[in-house]
Protein backbone atom coordinates (compact mmCIF):
# COMPACT_ATOMS: atom_id res chain seq x y z
CA UNK A 1 0.00 0.00 0.00
CA UNK A 2 1.50 3.34 -0.92
CA UNK A 3 1.49 6.01 1.71
CA UNK A 4 0.72 9.60 1.08
CA UNK A 5 1.43 13.01 2.42
CA UNK A 6 -1.24 14.26 4.77
CA UNK A 7 -2.08 10.75 5.85
CA UNK A 8 -2.35 9.88 9.55
CA UNK A 9 -0.48 7.03 11.15
CA UNK A 10 -0.35 5.58 14.59
CA UNK A 11 1.91 3.56 16.78
CA UNK A 12 2.99 3.02 20.34
CA UNK A 13 4.86 5.77 22.14
CA UNK A 14 7.93 3.54 21.94
CA UNK A 15 8.05 4.08 18.19
CA UNK A 16 9.31 7.58 18.93
CA UNK A 17 12.51 5.84 19.93
CA UNK A 18 12.72 4.19 16.49
CA UNK A 19 12.21 7.59 14.95
CA UNK A 20 15.09 9.09 16.95
CA UNK A 21 17.34 6.15 16.08
CA UNK A 22 16.45 6.37 12.38
CA UNK A 23 17.44 10.03 12.41
CA UNK A 24 20.66 9.32 14.25
CA UNK A 25 21.48 6.59 11.72
CA UNK A 26 21.53 9.31 9.09
CA UNK A 27 24.33 10.94 11.05
CA UNK A 28 22.10 13.69 12.37
CA UNK A 29 22.26 15.34 15.75
CA UNK A 30 18.87 15.16 17.40
CA UNK A 31 17.95 18.22 19.48
CA UNK A 32 15.05 18.24 21.87
CA UNK A 33 13.80 19.34 25.26
CA UNK A 34 15.56 17.19 27.80
CA UNK A 35 16.76 16.98 31.36
CA UNK A 36 20.29 17.93 32.35
CA UNK A 37 20.67 16.96 35.97
CA UNK A 38 17.37 18.26 37.26
CA UNK A 39 17.16 21.15 34.81
CA UNK A 40 14.87 21.18 31.79
CA UNK A 41 16.96 22.39 28.85
CA UNK A 42 17.15 22.05 25.08
CA UNK A 43 20.01 20.04 23.62
CA UNK A 44 21.21 16.80 22.08
CA UNK A 45 19.35 13.58 22.87
CA UNK A 46 20.13 10.01 21.89
CA UNK A 47 17.12 8.02 23.03
CA UNK A 48 13.48 8.41 23.99
CA UNK A 49 14.22 8.28 27.72
CA UNK A 50 16.32 11.45 27.30
CA UNK A 51 13.15 13.32 26.42
CA UNK A 52 10.88 14.67 29.11
CA UNK A 53 8.14 12.17 28.39
CA UNK A 54 7.63 11.28 32.03
CA UNK A 55 7.47 14.85 33.23
CA UNK A 56 4.92 17.62 33.40
CA UNK A 57 5.86 21.28 33.46
CA UNK A 58 3.66 23.23 35.83
CA UNK A 59 3.69 26.83 34.68
CA UNK A 60 2.05 29.92 36.10
CA UNK A 61 2.98 33.62 36.10
CA UNK A 62 6.45 33.83 37.64
CA UNK A 63 6.71 30.14 38.44
CA UNK A 64 7.87 26.95 36.72
CA UNK A 65 8.08 23.53 38.33
CA UNK A 66 8.77 20.13 36.89
CA UNK A 67 6.84 17.14 38.20
CA UNK A 68 7.78 13.54 37.50
CA UNK A 69 4.67 11.90 36.28
CA UNK A 70 4.23 8.78 34.17
CA UNK A 71 2.64 9.85 30.88
CA UNK A 72 3.36 13.45 31.78
CA UNK A 73 2.53 16.26 29.44
CA UNK A 74 5.60 18.33 28.73
CA UNK A 75 5.29 21.68 26.96
CA UNK A 76 8.49 23.68 27.02
CA UNK A 77 11.03 25.42 29.18
CA UNK A 78 12.92 28.70 29.43
CA UNK A 79 14.83 27.74 26.30
CA UNK A 80 13.42 27.56 22.79
CA UNK A 81 14.82 26.74 19.34
CA UNK A 82 16.00 30.38 19.27
CA UNK A 83 18.78 29.33 21.65
CA UNK A 84 20.01 26.87 19.06
CA UNK A 85 19.62 28.95 15.90
CA UNK A 86 20.23 32.52 17.05
CA UNK A 87 22.99 32.19 19.64
CA UNK A 88 22.77 34.31 22.80
CA UNK A 89 26.40 35.41 22.46
CA UNK A 90 28.83 34.86 19.66
CA UNK A 91 31.85 36.37 18.02
CA UNK A 92 30.68 37.08 14.50
CA UNK A 93 33.96 38.21 13.03
CA UNK A 94 37.53 39.08 13.74
CA UNK A 95 39.57 41.83 12.19
CA UNK A 96 43.20 41.00 11.59
CA UNK A 97 45.99 43.54 12.03
CA UNK A 98 45.91 44.20 8.28
CA UNK A 99 42.19 44.98 8.47
CA UNK A 100 40.95 41.77 6.92
CA UNK A 101 37.53 40.69 8.15
CA UNK A 102 37.51 37.03 9.10
CA UNK A 103 34.04 35.55 9.56
CA UNK A 104 33.74 33.15 12.44
CA UNK A 105 33.46 29.58 11.24
CA UNK A 106 30.25 27.99 12.37
CA UNK A 107 30.50 24.30 13.05
CA UNK A 108 26.80 23.64 13.55
CA UNK A 109 26.36 20.00 12.55
CA UNK A 110 23.41 18.70 10.52
CA UNK A 111 20.61 18.48 13.05
CA UNK A 112 17.00 17.64 13.76
CA UNK A 113 14.61 19.62 15.92
CA UNK A 114 12.66 16.91 17.67
CA UNK A 115 9.57 17.29 19.82
CA UNK A 116 9.44 21.05 19.55
CA UNK A 117 5.97 22.55 19.94
CA UNK A 118 3.67 24.21 17.41
CA UNK A 119 4.42 27.60 19.01
CA UNK A 120 8.14 26.89 18.57
CA UNK A 121 7.60 26.09 14.92
CA UNK A 122 5.61 29.30 14.47
CA UNK A 123 8.47 31.18 16.12
CA UNK A 124 11.00 29.64 13.72
CA UNK A 125 8.82 30.76 10.85
CA UNK A 126 9.00 34.32 12.22
CA UNK A 127 12.77 34.17 12.75
CA UNK A 128 13.23 32.76 9.23
CA UNK A 129 11.70 35.93 7.86
CA UNK A 130 13.05 38.47 10.30
CA UNK A 131 16.57 37.08 10.00
CA UNK A 132 16.24 36.42 6.28
CA UNK A 133 19.44 38.31 5.51
CA UNK A 134 21.32 37.17 8.58
CA UNK A 135 23.80 34.70 7.16
CA UNK A 136 24.80 33.39 10.59
CA UNK A 137 21.22 32.38 11.32
CA UNK A 138 20.52 31.15 7.81
CA UNK A 139 23.62 28.92 7.71
CA UNK A 140 22.49 27.23 10.88
CA UNK A 141 18.88 27.05 9.78
CA UNK A 142 19.96 25.32 6.56
CA UNK A 143 21.52 22.60 8.67
CA UNK A 144 18.22 21.71 10.28
CA UNK A 145 17.42 18.65 8.21
CA UNK A 146 14.17 17.65 9.85
CA UNK A 147 11.60 19.28 12.08
CA UNK A 148 9.53 16.89 14.16
CA UNK A 149 6.79 18.65 16.09
CA UNK A 150 4.88 17.43 19.10
CA UNK A 151 1.36 18.78 18.98
CA UNK A 152 -0.11 19.83 22.30
CA UNK A 153 -3.01 17.79 23.62
CA UNK A 154 -2.95 19.73 26.87
CA UNK A 155 -1.90 23.38 26.96
CA UNK A 156 0.37 24.62 29.73
CA UNK A 157 -0.65 27.02 32.47
CA UNK A 158 0.39 30.18 30.64
CA UNK A 159 -0.19 29.14 27.00
CA UNK A 160 -2.56 30.98 24.67
CA UNK A 161 -1.67 29.67 21.20
CA UNK A 162 -5.32 28.94 20.52
CA UNK A 163 -6.10 32.65 20.45
CA UNK A 164 -3.18 33.52 18.18
CA UNK A 165 -3.77 30.56 15.89
CA UNK A 166 -0.24 29.17 16.21
CA UNK A 167 -1.30 25.94 17.94
CA UNK A 168 -2.06 23.48 19.42
CA UNK A 169 -1.85 21.73 16.01
CA UNK A 170 0.50 22.40 13.10
CA UNK A 171 -0.49 22.79 9.47
CA UNK A 172 2.79 23.33 7.63
CA UNK A 173 6.52 23.74 7.95
CA UNK A 174 7.17 20.37 9.57
CA UNK A 175 8.36 16.98 8.37
CA UNK A 176 6.57 14.88 10.95
CA UNK A 177 4.16 15.89 13.67
CA UNK A 178 2.92 13.68 16.45
CA UNK A 179 0.44 13.88 19.27
CA UNK A 180 0.51 11.69 22.34
CA UNK A 181 -2.82 10.12 23.22
CA UNK A 182 -1.86 8.10 26.27
CA UNK A 183 0.30 5.18 25.11
CA UNK A 184 -0.71 5.68 21.52
CA UNK A 185 0.82 8.29 19.28
CA UNK A 186 -0.81 9.78 16.23
CA UNK A 187 1.59 10.79 13.47
CA UNK A 188 1.08 13.34 10.72
CA UNK A 189 3.37 13.61 7.74
CA UNK A 190 4.23 17.04 6.38
CA UNK A 191 6.91 16.37 3.76
CA UNK A 192 8.26 13.74 1.37
CA UNK A 193 11.31 13.39 3.62
CA UNK A 194 9.03 12.82 6.56
CA UNK A 195 7.08 10.22 4.65
CA UNK A 196 10.22 8.21 3.90
CA UNK A 197 11.11 8.30 7.57
CA UNK A 198 7.68 7.11 8.62
CA UNK A 199 8.00 4.15 6.28
CA UNK A 200 11.24 3.12 7.95
CA UNK A 201 9.81 3.24 11.44
CA UNK A 202 6.94 0.86 10.87
CA UNK A 203 3.80 2.84 11.54
CA UNK A 204 0.32 1.74 10.64
CA UNK A 205 -2.40 3.96 9.21
CA UNK A 206 -4.41 5.53 12.01
CA UNK A 207 -7.73 3.93 12.92
CA UNK A 208 -10.92 5.98 12.88
CA UNK A 209 -11.09 5.63 16.64
CA UNK A 210 -7.59 7.06 17.13
CA UNK A 211 -8.35 9.89 14.71
CA UNK A 212 -11.54 10.69 16.59
CA UNK A 213 -9.64 10.78 19.90
CA UNK A 214 -6.99 12.98 18.29
CA UNK A 215 -9.50 15.49 16.93
CA UNK A 216 -11.32 15.61 20.22
CA UNK A 217 -8.11 16.16 22.20
CA UNK A 218 -6.86 18.89 19.88
CA UNK A 219 -10.20 20.71 19.84
CA UNK A 220 -10.31 20.64 23.60
CA UNK A 221 -6.71 21.86 23.76
CA UNK A 222 -7.51 24.68 21.34
CA UNK A 223 -10.44 25.73 23.48
CA UNK A 224 -8.30 25.69 26.64
CA UNK A 225 -5.47 27.60 24.95
CA UNK A 226 -7.78 30.40 23.83
CA UNK A 227 -7.21 32.48 26.91
CA UNK A 228 -7.26 35.91 25.36
CA UNK A 229 -9.71 37.40 22.87
CA UNK A 230 -9.05 36.35 19.27
CA UNK A 231 -5.89 37.78 17.72
CA UNK A 232 -7.68 40.20 15.37
CA UNK A 233 -9.73 41.62 18.21
CA UNK A 234 -6.58 42.15 20.27
CA UNK A 235 -4.85 43.81 17.32
CA UNK A 236 -7.70 46.29 16.86
CA UNK A 237 -7.77 47.03 20.58
CA UNK A 238 -4.02 47.62 20.72
CA UNK A 239 -4.28 49.97 17.74
CA UNK A 240 -6.84 51.92 19.75
CA UNK A 241 -4.65 52.18 22.84
CA UNK A 242 -1.41 52.68 20.92
CA UNK A 243 -1.07 56.28 22.09
CA UNK A 244 -3.02 56.03 25.34
CA UNK A 245 -0.18 56.85 27.72
CA UNK A 246 -2.25 56.00 30.78
CA UNK A 247 -2.85 52.48 29.55
CA UNK A 248 0.86 51.76 29.11
CA UNK A 249 1.87 53.39 32.39
CA UNK A 250 -0.66 51.20 34.15
CA UNK A 251 0.29 48.06 32.22
CA UNK A 252 3.98 48.48 33.03
CA UNK A 253 3.52 49.71 36.61
CA UNK A 254 5.03 46.56 38.11
CA UNK A 255 7.61 45.98 35.36
CA UNK A 256 11.23 46.42 36.48
CA UNK A 257 12.68 46.26 32.97
CA UNK A 258 14.69 43.11 33.66
CA UNK A 259 14.29 41.81 30.05
CA UNK A 260 13.52 38.23 31.05
CA UNK A 261 10.53 38.36 28.69
CA UNK A 262 12.79 39.44 25.82
CA UNK A 263 15.35 36.76 26.49
CA UNK A 264 12.92 33.86 26.73
CA UNK A 265 10.65 35.02 23.89
CA UNK A 266 11.17 32.62 20.97
CA UNK A 267 10.77 35.46 18.45
CA UNK A 268 12.72 38.27 20.16
CA UNK A 269 15.71 38.67 17.88
CA UNK A 270 17.33 41.98 18.83
CA UNK A 271 21.05 42.01 19.34
CA UNK A 272 23.70 44.49 20.39
CA UNK A 273 27.34 44.50 19.39
CA UNK A 274 30.37 44.77 21.58
CA UNK A 275 33.76 45.34 20.05
CA UNK A 276 36.92 44.06 21.65
CA UNK A 277 40.57 44.46 20.83
CA UNK A 278 43.89 43.33 22.08
CA UNK A 279 47.16 45.15 21.70
CA UNK A 280 48.55 42.66 19.20
CA UNK A 281 46.33 44.32 16.61
CA UNK A 282 43.51 41.81 16.66
CA UNK A 283 39.96 42.99 17.15
CA UNK A 284 36.70 41.12 17.26
CA UNK A 285 33.01 41.89 17.25
CA UNK A 286 30.68 40.02 19.54
CA UNK A 287 26.96 39.93 19.01
CA UNK A 288 24.62 39.25 21.87
CA UNK A 289 20.92 39.26 22.58
CA UNK A 290 19.65 42.59 23.80
CA UNK A 291 16.25 43.23 25.31
CA UNK A 292 14.08 46.23 24.40
CA UNK A 293 13.13 46.67 28.06
CA UNK A 294 16.74 47.61 28.87
CA UNK A 295 17.45 51.28 29.42
CA UNK A 296 20.10 51.45 26.71
CA UNK A 297 17.71 50.09 24.08
CA UNK A 298 16.48 53.11 22.15
CA UNK A 299 19.43 55.20 23.21
CA UNK A 300 21.28 56.85 20.36
CA UNK A 301 24.05 59.40 20.19
CA UNK A 302 22.91 62.29 22.34
CA UNK A 303 19.29 61.19 22.68
CA UNK A 304 16.93 58.43 23.68
CA UNK A 305 13.90 57.32 21.69
CA UNK A 306 12.20 55.66 24.65
CA UNK A 307 13.70 57.02 27.85
CA UNK A 308 10.91 55.83 30.13
CA UNK A 309 10.17 52.20 30.82
CA UNK A 310 6.49 52.43 29.91
CA UNK A 311 7.50 53.50 26.41
CA UNK A 312 9.73 50.48 26.02
CA UNK A 313 7.09 48.16 27.47
CA UNK A 314 4.59 49.57 24.99
CA UNK A 315 7.05 48.98 22.19
CA UNK A 316 7.54 45.36 23.29
CA UNK A 317 3.83 44.59 23.25
CA UNK A 318 2.98 46.54 20.10
CA UNK A 319 5.92 45.08 18.25
CA UNK A 320 4.72 41.57 19.02
CA UNK A 321 1.09 42.20 18.11
CA UNK A 322 1.19 44.94 15.47
CA UNK A 323 4.61 45.64 14.03
CA UNK A 324 5.81 42.11 13.19
CA UNK A 325 2.70 41.82 11.04
CA UNK A 326 3.90 44.81 9.05
CA UNK A 327 7.50 43.62 8.99
CA UNK A 328 7.04 39.97 8.07
CA UNK A 329 3.30 39.38 7.74
CA UNK A 330 3.10 37.18 10.82
CA UNK A 331 2.17 37.77 14.45
CA UNK A 332 5.28 38.28 16.54
CA UNK A 333 3.62 36.63 19.51
CA UNK A 334 3.16 32.87 19.19
CA UNK A 335 1.24 32.42 22.45
CA UNK A 336 3.80 30.18 24.15
CA UNK A 337 3.47 32.02 27.46
CA UNK A 338 7.20 32.02 28.24
CA UNK A 339 7.21 35.78 28.92
CA UNK A 340 4.52 35.20 31.55
CA UNK A 341 6.08 32.17 33.24
CA UNK A 342 9.64 33.54 33.31
CA UNK A 343 8.68 37.05 34.41
CA UNK A 344 9.96 37.28 37.99
CA UNK A 345 7.22 39.82 38.69
CA UNK A 346 4.57 37.48 37.29
CA UNK A 347 3.23 40.12 34.90
CA UNK A 348 0.65 38.42 32.70
CA UNK A 349 0.71 39.56 29.07
CA UNK A 350 -2.68 37.90 28.61
CA UNK A 351 -4.19 40.25 31.16
CA UNK A 352 -2.51 43.26 29.59
CA UNK A 353 -3.78 42.62 26.07
CA UNK A 354 -7.19 41.52 27.34
CA UNK A 355 -7.44 44.78 29.26
CA UNK A 356 -6.74 46.68 26.05
CA UNK A 357 -9.95 45.23 24.64
CA UNK A 358 -12.63 47.60 25.86
CA UNK A 359 -10.16 50.01 27.43
CA UNK A 360 -11.61 53.47 27.78
CA UNK A 361 -8.87 56.08 27.97
CA UNK A 362 -8.82 58.24 31.04
Amino acid sequence: MSRMLGEYFEGSVLLLENLILALKEQGLRVLSYKLEGDLPVIGEVSRLSDLLIDYTDIQSPGSYRLAKEVKGVFRHTQYSPKHLLHYPTQVIYEISDDFEIIRTKDDFPPSVLFGIKPCDLAAIEVLDKVLERDDVYQARRARIEYIVVEECVEPGGTCFCGSIGTGPAVAKGYDIAYARLGDQVLFKVGSEKGLKLVEKVGLTPASDETLRRYNEALNEARRKASRIPPFNVVVRALEDVAVAEGFWREASARCVGCTNCNMVCPTCFCTEFSDYADLSGKAWRERHWFGCLSFTYGQVAGQHFRPELFMRYRHFVLHKFLFYQRQVGLPGCVGCGRCITWCPMGIDLREVVSRAVGYVGR
Binding site: V41, P88, R254, S274, W289, S294, F295, E308, P344, M345
Partner: protein
Protein backbone atom coordinates in the same frame (compact mmCIF):
# COMPACT_ATOMS: atom_id res chain seq x y z
CA UNK B 1 49.27 54.09 20.28
CA UNK B 2 50.79 56.13 23.03
CA UNK B 3 51.43 55.49 26.67
CA UNK B 4 48.69 56.52 29.08
CA UNK B 5 49.57 57.92 32.47
CA UNK B 6 47.38 56.41 35.15
CA UNK B 7 46.80 57.05 38.80
CA UNK B 8 44.87 54.67 41.02
CA UNK B 9 43.41 56.25 44.10
CA UNK B 10 41.97 54.37 47.02
CA UNK B 11 39.41 55.91 49.35
CA UNK B 12 37.37 54.03 51.95
CA UNK B 13 37.02 50.40 50.91
CA UNK B 14 38.29 46.91 51.59
CA UNK B 15 40.82 47.27 48.74
CA UNK B 16 39.37 44.22 47.01
CA UNK B 17 38.90 46.20 43.81
CA UNK B 18 42.55 47.25 43.89
CA UNK B 19 43.45 43.58 43.90
CA UNK B 20 41.19 43.09 40.88
CA UNK B 21 43.07 45.89 39.10
CA UNK B 22 46.38 44.28 40.03
CA UNK B 23 45.35 40.79 38.90
CA UNK B 24 44.05 41.98 35.56
CA UNK B 25 47.11 44.17 34.86
CA UNK B 26 49.60 41.52 35.91
CA UNK B 27 47.88 39.08 33.56
CA UNK B 28 48.41 41.55 30.71
CA UNK B 29 52.05 42.43 30.40
CA UNK B 30 51.34 43.85 26.94
CA UNK B 31 48.89 46.36 28.42
CA UNK B 32 51.27 47.38 31.21
CA UNK B 33 53.80 48.40 28.56
CA UNK B 34 51.37 51.10 27.46
CA UNK B 35 50.59 52.35 30.95
CA UNK B 36 52.70 54.73 32.93
CA UNK B 37 51.58 54.16 36.50
CA UNK B 38 51.98 57.56 38.08
CA UNK B 39 50.32 56.88 41.42
CA UNK B 40 49.23 53.52 42.82
CA UNK B 41 50.33 52.83 46.38
CA UNK B 42 50.24 49.10 45.81
CA UNK B 43 52.62 49.25 42.86
CA UNK B 44 55.04 52.12 43.43
CA UNK B 45 56.31 54.58 46.02
CA UNK B 46 55.17 57.97 44.77
CA UNK B 47 52.93 60.01 47.01
CA UNK B 48 52.50 62.83 44.57
CA UNK B 49 49.31 63.09 42.59
CA UNK B 50 50.19 64.48 39.21
CA UNK B 51 48.34 65.30 36.01
CA UNK B 52 47.33 62.04 34.35
CA UNK B 53 45.32 60.76 31.41
CA UNK B 54 43.30 58.34 33.51
CA UNK B 55 42.44 58.36 37.19
CA UNK B 56 40.86 55.26 38.64
CA UNK B 57 39.12 56.04 41.90
CA UNK B 58 38.17 53.20 44.19
CA UNK B 59 36.27 53.44 47.46
CA UNK B 60 33.73 55.85 48.85
CA UNK B 61 34.08 59.24 50.47
CA UNK B 62 33.62 59.34 54.23
CA UNK B 63 35.46 62.51 55.29
CA UNK B 64 36.28 65.96 53.98
CA UNK B 65 39.95 65.14 53.24
CA UNK B 66 38.85 62.45 50.83
CA UNK B 67 36.38 64.82 49.26
CA UNK B 68 39.16 67.37 48.66
CA UNK B 69 41.44 64.66 47.32
CA UNK B 70 38.86 63.47 44.81
CA UNK B 71 38.27 67.03 43.62
CA UNK B 72 42.02 67.46 43.13
CA UNK B 73 42.27 64.20 41.22
CA UNK B 74 39.38 65.21 39.02
CA UNK B 75 41.13 68.41 38.10
CA UNK B 76 44.32 66.54 37.32
CA UNK B 77 42.83 63.81 35.14
CA UNK B 78 41.46 63.70 31.63
CA UNK B 79 39.31 60.63 32.24
CA UNK B 80 38.00 59.64 35.64
CA UNK B 81 36.80 56.12 36.30
CA UNK B 82 34.81 55.20 39.40
CA UNK B 83 35.75 51.63 40.20
CA UNK B 84 33.73 49.32 42.38
CA UNK B 85 30.43 49.57 44.19
CA UNK B 86 31.94 51.78 46.95
CA UNK B 87 32.99 54.41 44.42
CA UNK B 88 29.80 54.14 42.36
CA UNK B 89 27.17 53.63 45.08
CA UNK B 90 28.81 54.11 48.47
CA UNK B 91 29.42 50.45 49.26
CA UNK B 92 29.01 48.38 52.41
CA UNK B 93 30.14 51.19 54.71
CA UNK B 94 26.87 52.89 53.79
CA UNK B 95 25.23 50.46 56.20
CA UNK B 96 26.22 52.85 58.98
CA UNK B 97 24.48 55.81 57.38
CA UNK B 98 21.68 57.06 59.59
CA UNK B 99 23.12 55.36 62.69
CA UNK B 100 24.63 57.24 65.60
CA UNK B 101 28.20 57.82 64.46
CA UNK B 102 29.76 57.52 67.91
CA UNK B 103 28.11 54.17 68.58
CA UNK B 104 29.31 52.84 65.23
CA UNK B 105 32.88 54.01 65.75
CA UNK B 106 33.04 52.72 69.33
CA UNK B 107 31.90 49.31 68.17
CA UNK B 108 35.18 48.89 66.30
CA UNK B 109 37.76 51.25 67.77
CA UNK B 110 38.75 51.48 71.44
CA UNK B 111 40.16 54.96 70.88
CA UNK B 112 37.80 56.71 68.48
CA UNK B 113 39.52 60.10 68.57
CA UNK B 114 41.71 59.20 65.59
CA UNK B 115 38.75 58.29 63.39
CA UNK B 116 37.72 61.14 61.15
CA UNK B 117 34.46 60.31 59.49
CA UNK B 118 31.37 62.22 58.51
CA UNK B 119 27.92 60.83 59.25
CA UNK B 120 27.22 60.53 55.52
CA UNK B 121 28.83 58.13 53.00
CA UNK B 122 29.27 59.59 49.53
CA UNK B 123 29.82 58.00 46.16
CA UNK B 124 32.50 59.50 43.92
CA UNK B 125 30.03 60.92 41.44
CA UNK B 126 28.12 62.74 44.15
CA UNK B 127 31.23 64.90 44.50
CA UNK B 128 32.79 65.11 41.03
CA UNK B 129 31.88 64.27 37.44
CA UNK B 130 32.63 60.67 36.62
CA UNK B 131 33.30 59.60 33.03
CA UNK B 132 33.00 55.83 33.39
CA UNK B 133 31.61 53.57 36.08
CA UNK B 134 32.57 49.98 36.81
CA UNK B 135 30.50 48.88 39.77
CA UNK B 136 30.77 45.51 41.47
CA UNK B 137 31.91 44.19 44.81
CA UNK B 138 34.56 43.58 43.74
CA UNK B 139 34.55 45.23 40.34
CA UNK B 140 35.23 43.11 37.27
CA UNK B 141 38.94 43.66 36.65
CA UNK B 142 38.70 42.00 33.23
CA UNK B 143 36.14 44.54 32.11
CA UNK B 144 38.36 47.37 33.32
CA UNK B 145 41.39 45.94 31.50
CA UNK B 146 39.41 45.54 28.26
CA UNK B 147 38.37 49.15 28.60
CA UNK B 148 41.94 50.35 29.23
CA UNK B 149 43.04 48.54 26.06
CA UNK B 150 40.49 50.58 24.14
CA UNK B 151 41.67 53.82 25.75
CA UNK B 152 45.26 52.98 24.88
CA UNK B 153 44.18 52.47 21.28
CA UNK B 154 42.46 55.84 21.28
CA UNK B 155 38.98 54.38 21.53
CA UNK B 156 36.20 54.49 24.05
CA UNK B 157 33.12 52.54 25.08
CA UNK B 158 29.46 53.32 25.47
CA UNK B 159 28.06 51.61 28.52
CA UNK B 160 25.18 49.19 28.09
CA UNK B 161 22.75 49.55 30.96
CA UNK B 162 20.78 46.37 31.50
CA UNK B 163 19.76 44.10 34.35
CA UNK B 164 21.68 41.09 35.49
CA UNK B 165 18.87 38.92 34.07
CA UNK B 166 19.95 39.80 30.51
CA UNK B 167 23.42 38.49 31.20
CA UNK B 168 22.13 35.49 33.14
CA UNK B 169 19.76 34.45 30.36
CA UNK B 170 22.43 34.85 27.70
CA UNK B 171 24.60 32.50 29.70
CA UNK B 172 21.77 29.98 29.59
CA UNK B 173 21.30 29.79 33.35
CA UNK B 174 17.89 28.52 34.37
CA UNK B 175 16.14 31.19 36.43
CA UNK B 176 16.71 30.57 40.14
CA UNK B 177 13.60 32.56 41.04
CA UNK B 178 11.13 31.07 38.60
CA UNK B 179 12.49 27.51 38.61
CA UNK B 180 13.78 27.16 42.17
CA UNK B 181 11.65 29.74 43.94
CA UNK B 182 14.74 31.44 45.38
CA UNK B 183 14.75 35.19 46.00
CA UNK B 184 17.17 36.85 43.58
CA UNK B 185 17.94 40.55 43.13
CA UNK B 186 19.02 40.02 39.51
CA UNK B 187 15.98 41.76 37.97
CA UNK B 188 16.81 45.09 39.65
CA UNK B 189 20.60 44.79 39.61
CA UNK B 190 23.07 46.01 36.98
CA UNK B 191 24.80 43.41 34.85
CA UNK B 192 28.55 42.98 34.61
CA UNK B 193 29.53 40.12 36.92
CA UNK B 194 28.73 37.34 34.46
CA UNK B 195 25.81 36.16 36.61
CA UNK B 196 28.20 34.64 39.10
CA UNK B 197 25.79 33.74 41.91
CA UNK B 198 22.99 32.35 39.70
CA UNK B 199 25.56 30.20 37.89
CA UNK B 200 26.04 28.49 41.26
CA UNK B 201 22.26 28.34 41.59
CA UNK B 202 22.11 31.06 44.20
CA UNK B 203 20.17 34.26 44.13
CA UNK B 204 21.93 37.52 43.28
CA UNK B 205 22.35 39.84 46.27
CA UNK B 206 22.76 42.96 44.20
CA UNK B 207 26.47 43.76 44.63
CA UNK B 208 26.69 45.52 41.25
CA UNK B 209 24.13 48.01 42.43
CA UNK B 210 20.60 49.04 41.60
CA UNK B 211 19.49 49.55 37.99
CA UNK B 212 18.26 52.96 39.11
CA UNK B 213 17.53 54.26 35.61
CA UNK B 214 14.47 52.02 35.71
CA UNK B 215 13.80 50.97 39.27
CA UNK B 216 12.25 53.83 41.20
CA UNK B 217 10.71 53.69 44.66
CA UNK B 218 7.35 52.32 43.50
CA UNK B 219 8.99 49.56 41.48
CA UNK B 220 11.31 48.78 44.35
CA UNK B 221 8.28 48.42 46.59
CA UNK B 222 6.63 46.03 44.11
CA UNK B 223 9.85 44.05 43.79
CA UNK B 224 10.29 43.81 47.56
CA UNK B 225 6.91 42.06 47.75
CA UNK B 226 8.13 39.43 45.30
CA UNK B 227 11.33 38.61 47.16
CA UNK B 228 9.50 38.70 50.48
CA UNK B 229 7.03 36.13 49.18
CA UNK B 230 10.00 33.98 48.24
CA UNK B 231 11.33 34.08 51.77
CA UNK B 232 13.68 37.06 51.97
CA UNK B 233 12.88 39.28 54.93
CA UNK B 234 12.27 42.93 54.28
CA UNK B 235 15.09 43.71 56.68
CA UNK B 236 17.58 41.65 54.66
CA UNK B 237 16.36 43.13 51.40
CA UNK B 238 16.74 46.67 52.66
CA UNK B 239 20.18 45.88 54.10
CA UNK B 240 21.39 44.56 50.73
CA UNK B 241 20.07 47.62 48.97
CA UNK B 242 21.70 49.92 51.46
CA UNK B 243 25.00 48.05 51.28
CA UNK B 244 25.28 48.05 47.50
CA UNK B 245 23.02 50.79 46.14
CA UNK B 246 23.07 53.46 48.82
CA UNK B 247 23.68 56.56 46.70
CA UNK B 248 20.90 55.65 44.28
CA UNK B 249 18.43 55.29 47.14
CA UNK B 250 19.18 58.72 48.53
CA UNK B 251 18.74 60.38 45.15
CA UNK B 252 15.11 61.04 44.38
CA UNK B 253 14.62 59.21 41.13
CA UNK B 254 11.80 60.09 38.81
CA UNK B 255 9.53 57.44 37.34
CA UNK B 256 11.27 55.70 34.50
Amino acid sequence: MRKLSVSVLKLTSCSGCLNEVLYSLVARAELLRYLNISYFTELQDSNAIEDVDVAIVEGSIVNSEQEELVKQVREKSRVLIALGTCAVFGGVQSLRAGEDLRTVVLASYPNPDHIKVLPEVKSVDSVVNVDYRFSGCPANGEALARFLVKLVMGGSESPIVESLCSECKRKGILCVTVFDGKPCLGPITLSGCGALCPSFRRGCYGCYGLNALIVDREKLEEFSKVVERLGMSREDFMAMLKAFSYSSLTKSSSSR
